[in-house]
Symmetry: C2
Subunit: 366 residues, 2 copies
C-alpha cells in the first residue's frame, strides 16, 4: 500500500485484518493518484471512463469528479441501465447490443439520459430503430470500426461503413454521433509498440472521418483508446475521447508494460499451509482472482506465485521470507476487470485507516 511498502504488509489496520479472506482491498490514495494522473494526461482529448473495469459507481463518481470527462462508458446494456438509474449522464455502450432483453435495458437507460451504442452492421441499426420506436426513445450511434483488434467492428475503408452511416442518418430515432475504434490489440504492449499502433489507428480513423465528411455526415465523436494507449492517444488529435478504465485500480498485466499508473487493488489472502521453508499455500484461488492471462503477483518480492486452483494459490518463497500459517498475503491481480467481477465488495482503505465497503454494484445477476 502507498504508506505501507515493504514485504510483509502485516502492518495493516485491524479493520483490514478482521475481513475474512480472500477479499479485494483498494488503496484509495493510490487510486486517487491514478485518477488525477489520467485526467491530467488526457486533458487535450477528454476521458470517457469505462465502468466495466471496476463496476463500482463509487469509483466512477470519483473519476467524473476529477474533471475532463465527456460522459461514461460501459460494456453492456445492463450496465447502462444501472448507470442511468444511478444518475450518471451521457452513457456510451461501447459494444453491439442485440438480445431483445438487452435492447429493452438500453431503452430503460435511454428513458433517463442520453445513451449511445456501437453498431457494425445494418441489422444492429434495425434492432435499435425498432427498440426506439417500441419504447419511444432515441439512441446515439457510433460506427464501430475494427482498427486491428479482430473482434467486432466494420473493416475501415469498406463500403459497409458508408452504407451503415447513411442508414443511421436516415433514421428518425437514431443520431449518428460518430466513430469508434478500440485498439484492444495495442493495450498490453511496450510503450513504443503502443505508440506505433496508436498512430496507425489514428490514421485509419482519420481516413474514415474524411470519408464521412465527404458524404456530409461529419462525426462529432471519435471514441477509442484504453489504459495502455491513454498516454500516446492523448497526443492523437483524431480521438475526441478516450475510453480507459483499468488505470484506476490497475493490475499486474498493465504494471508489466509500464503504463504511468500505480497498483491500487490487492487481493488479500491468508497463508493456510506451509510444508517447507520454500513452499506455502494461501486461500485465494480462481474464485477470487482471474488467471487466464497468468498468475497474480505477490507484493512481497521474496514470494513467487507458481500455481492457482479453484481455492488456492501455491507459493514459492525465499528461505529469508518468514511467511507463516495465518499471515496475510497481498496479491496484485493479473487482470483487473474479470477479477473485480468475482467480488461483490471492494474494501476501500483510506489514508486515515478507515475501511469502507464499496459495492460492486454494476455486477448483474442473470
Amino acid at each position: 500500500m502507498s504508506r505501507r511498502p515493504g514485504s510483509t504488509l502485516l502492518d495493516w489496520p485491524t479493520a483490514v485484518s478482521a475481513i475474512p479472506t480472500p477479499f479485494l482491498l483498494v488503496d484509495v490514495e493510490a487510486m486517487e493518484r491514478n485518477i488525477a494522473r489520467a485526467a491530467r494526461l488526457a486533458r487535450g482529448v477528454g476521458l470517457r471512463p469505462h465502468f466495466k473495469a471496476h463496476k463500482c459507481t463509487r469509483i466512477l463518481e470519483r473519476q467524473l469528479a476529477a474533471g475532463g470527462c465527456s460522459g461514461v462508458t460501459c460494456a453492456t446494456a445492463a450496465e447502462a441501465k444501472i448507470l442511468a438509474e444511478a444518475g450518471f449522464p451521457d452513457i456510451l455502450v461501447a459494444n453491439e447490443v442485440v438480445h431483445p432483453a438487452a435492447l429493452a435495458e438500453l431503452a430503460a437507460a435511454a428513458g433517463r439520459t442520453s445513451v449511445t451504442v456501437a453498431v457494425d452492421c445494418e441489422d444492429h441499426v434495425n434492432r435499435l430503430e425498432a427498440t426506439a420506436s417500441e419504447h419511444r426513445c432515441r439512441f446515439g450511434v457510433l460506427l464501430d470500426l475494427d482498427v486491428g483488434q479482430g473482434r467486432c467492428g466494420m473493416v475501415p475503408g469498406s463500403d459497409t461503413v458508408l452504407h451503415v452511416a447513411q442508414r443511421v442518418a436516415r433514421s428518425e430515432t437514431l443520431t449518428l454521433e460518430g466513430l469508434m475504434g478500440y485498439d484492444g490489440h495495442a493495450q498490453h504492449r511496450g510503450y513504443r509498440e503502443r505508440t506505433d499502433i496508436t498512430v496507425r489507428t489514428g490514421a485509419l480513423l482519420d481516413v474514415e472521418r474524411r470519408r464521412l465528411d465527404a458524404i456530409g455526415l461529419s462525426p462529432r465523436v471519435v471514441s477509442g483508446g484504453g489504459t495502455g494507449t491513454l498516454e500516446p492517444a492523448a497526443d492523437n488529435s483524431v480521438l475526441t475521447e478516450i475510453q480507459a478504465g483499468s488505470y484506476v485500480l490497475m493490475d499486474a498485466d498493465y504494471g508489466r508494460v509500464g503504463v504511468p499508473f500505480g497498483p491500487a487493488l490487492y487481493c488479500v489472502a491468508t497463508v493456510i499451509s506451509r510444508r517447507s521453508a520454500a513452499e506455502a499455500v494461501a486461500d485465494a484461488g480462481l474464485k477470487a482472482l482471474s488467471a487466464e492471462d497468468g498468475m497474480p503477483v505477490a507484493v512481497d518480492p521474496l514470494i513467487d506465485v507458481v500455481g492457482i486452483s479453484d481455492e488456492h494459490v501455491t507459493l514459492r518463497t525465499d528461505t529469508a521470507s518468514r511467511l507463516s500459517v495465518g499471515d496475510a498475503l497481498a496479491l496484485i491481480p493479473r487482470h483487473v476487470d474479470p477479477t473485480v467481477n468475482l467480488h461483490g465488495t471492494l474494501h476501500a482503505l483510506h489514508e486515515d485507516d478507515r475501511v469502507e465497503r464499496w459495492a460492486v454494484d454494476g455486477r448483474v445477476d442473470r
Copy 2:
C-alpha cells in the same frame, strides 16, 4: 441438450430465449443422469458430494436424494456455514481453515451439525481447539496428506503425521476422524493414468492407515477422490468416501478425458457481430466463463471458439454454419467450478420445458 441435440440449439423453449445473455443453463435431465450414475458407480464406497463445484443447495439436495452419501463436502468455512444453516448434515470442509473470521464461521456451522475439517500442521490443531473452546463446540479432524498434488497436506510417512494425529487425539474438543488424500493431480488425465495414480494413492493412504492403527488411532474415515477418479477409486478399498463434485454439471475439461458423465451445463450467448462467413463474435466473455484452462467449447461442431476477452468470445465458423447476428450459441464451459462462481443464478431447464431459477446460494460476498 439431451432432447435437443444437433448443431444450432435454436429449438429452445421461449422461456430460455427470453433470458438476457450470457447466462448458465442446466439441462436437468442430463444432470439427473450424472447424479444417478455417480451414485451407482460409488455404491461400494460412498459419495460425499462436493458443494464447491456448483454452490447450489438445490443441486446438493438432489445429490443426497440419490442415496449412498456419507455427508457433504465443501471448500470453505463460509460454505460450511451456509450448508449448516440450510439444514445439511455432516459437513466436511476439505481444506485448512486459518483466518479468525473463517474459524468463527466454522464454529457457527458446528453449532448446527457435525463439522469435520482438514489439518496439516499443529498450528491448525491449536487454532481449531481455541475456536472450539471459545464457541463451546466440537470439530472432527481429518489429517490432510499430500498424495502427489503438491498443494496442502503432510508428507505421507513423515513423523509429522503421527505427531499431529497424537496431538488431535489428546484434544478434548477435537475428534480424530481419519485421513484425507485428495488426488487433484490425477483428475484431468486419461483413464489409464487416473487408474494408476489412484492405485498409488490408495497404497500411500493404506500405509498411513496402518501407521495410525499401530499407535491405536485407527481412522474411521479415509476421504479422497474426485470426478476424474470416481470410477477407479470406487474399486479402491482404502477410501471410505469420494469427494466428487464436477460430475453433476460437468465441463469441457472433464469431457476431454472421458469420464463417464455427460454435459449438463451450458453458457448461452448471443451472436452480436458477424463480419464474414468465417468469423463471428458472441456476448459471453471472461465475466461469464472461466478460461484459465482454455476456451469454452461450442456445442455446434461447425464453430470453434478461438478467443475470449472480458465480454466476448471470438468464433471461427465453417461457411456451412448459418450463424447470424441474434442467434443463440451454447458453450460448454472449460472449467465448471470457477464458471458457476461467476453467476448468481442457474437457469434449470426441465424435460417439460419449464425453466426454474436456482440460486448459486453458496457464493459469498466478502
